[in-house]
Symmetry: C2
Subunit: 223 residues, 2 copies
């Protein structure tokens, strides 16, 4: 990279951070907990959101912003659960940026409690872009291998929550969840770790309860 490229990049990231800070202020003012989900393609982000849709009841409402390079598929899956969803198709771009989220924010109902943003499936680039979330969630599915935190450290370093997904496949795979969690915690000791099978329901009640508590903390901070 030349000096000129670095300057262009700094400029772009500076603008992104400003827009993200505005989004964060706006969502906090509305009392909405915003969670940015980040992982490789096929780690189970949409399936976790479907499972959360069935569990975040008790008067709580959620909405989802879906990021993908092409297709409306993920938004359609979420809408099928009766959850409002907006699909952002980046048309080639490898990550969501705050300005893309900002454009749909006006359409998000004011009375929701949770706004989940499912990023483009990519364990690298999305880690560099703040979207204005309050919590960042990285997913690592058991088929991906327990060596991934060390190889893709930034995603784990910048997250608040680690979801070890597809636990139902553990009997058939050379994946050690203890090792994966330990390596991720070496990179980022403040990670809150959950072991899930969103398909079978394992660990999903605990995750839903965690988000409800996080929402209460977020609102208490505002009050």
């Amino acid at each position: 990279m030349t000096k000129k490229d670095v300057l262009v990049l700094k400029d772009l990231l500076g603008t992104n951070n400003q827009i993200a800070a505005e989004i964060r202020r706006e969502l906090r003012a509305r009392g909405i907990l915003c969670v940015n989900l980040l992982s490789s393609p096929g780690s189970g982000k949409t399936t976790v959101l479907e499972a959360l849709a069935d569990r975040l009841g008790g008067g709580h409402r959620m909405a989802v912003i879906e990021g993908d390079i092409e297709t409306e598929r993920d938004a359609e899956r979420i809408r099928a659960r009766g959850i409002p969803a907006w699909q952002i198709t980046t048309g080639g771009a490898c990550h969501l940026e705050a300005k893309m989220v900002g454009k749909v924010l006006g359409e998000v109902p004011a009375d929701i409690d949770f706004l989940f943003i499912e990023n483009v499936g990519n364990l690298v680039c999305p880690a560099g872009y703040d979207l204005g979330e309050s919590l960042r969630c990285v997913l690592l599915s058991s088929p991906e291998g327990d060596d991934k935190p060390g190889k893709y450290p930034r995603a784990f370093l910048t997250a608040d929550i680690l979801l070890l997904t597809k636990a139902d496949l553990l009997p058939f795979l050379p994946f050690d969840p203890e090792k994966a969690a330990a390596e991720a915690l070496t990179i980022n000791p403040r990670l809150k770790v959950f072991r899930l099978s969103a398909l079978k329901g394992e660990g999903m009640d605990e995750l839903a309860a965690f988000f409800v508590e996080a929402l209460a903390r977020e609102r208490a901070r505002r009050a």
Copy 2:
């Protein structure tokens, strides 16, 4: 993106394409078949290379260039099979570029037959960078889901070969390999499709035989 950013990007890609063309000329002159492997993190690229190392015998020699953001882990796995391997750690960058490959090319022995390049685990960005390969191989593992070709079209559009990996997990997953292959072939009808389990050996002899034939074709073209 501003006009300035687009110009910088065009400039970077133009330089990459020039270096890639030089690498391709150099490797063809040496009679080496170069294959660029591209996929999400954890789709099984290294495991496929380990399985090929056990099968590309018969007087054939292979070498591997490994791309990762951090760690020497993949190169160590390949060296453990007696195969020469070079690790490129990009230190944050989400893809390999031709100039990175060019830097290690001088160290690659002249008498090898196959040079495999394992790209950074990322189904998006590496698709935009020619590394001077003769064949590009995209991997899609069954746990990732059969909806991925449509969501990440460029990787499938620019590849010559599609490897549907981790076939041993099919009994436990909602993955339809026919659907995945059909969607990929809609995007790119000239894809050669293999269904593999590198761990169990399924399909690996056919893949090794395909590469041996491709090497013969490459050398015949040169003669």
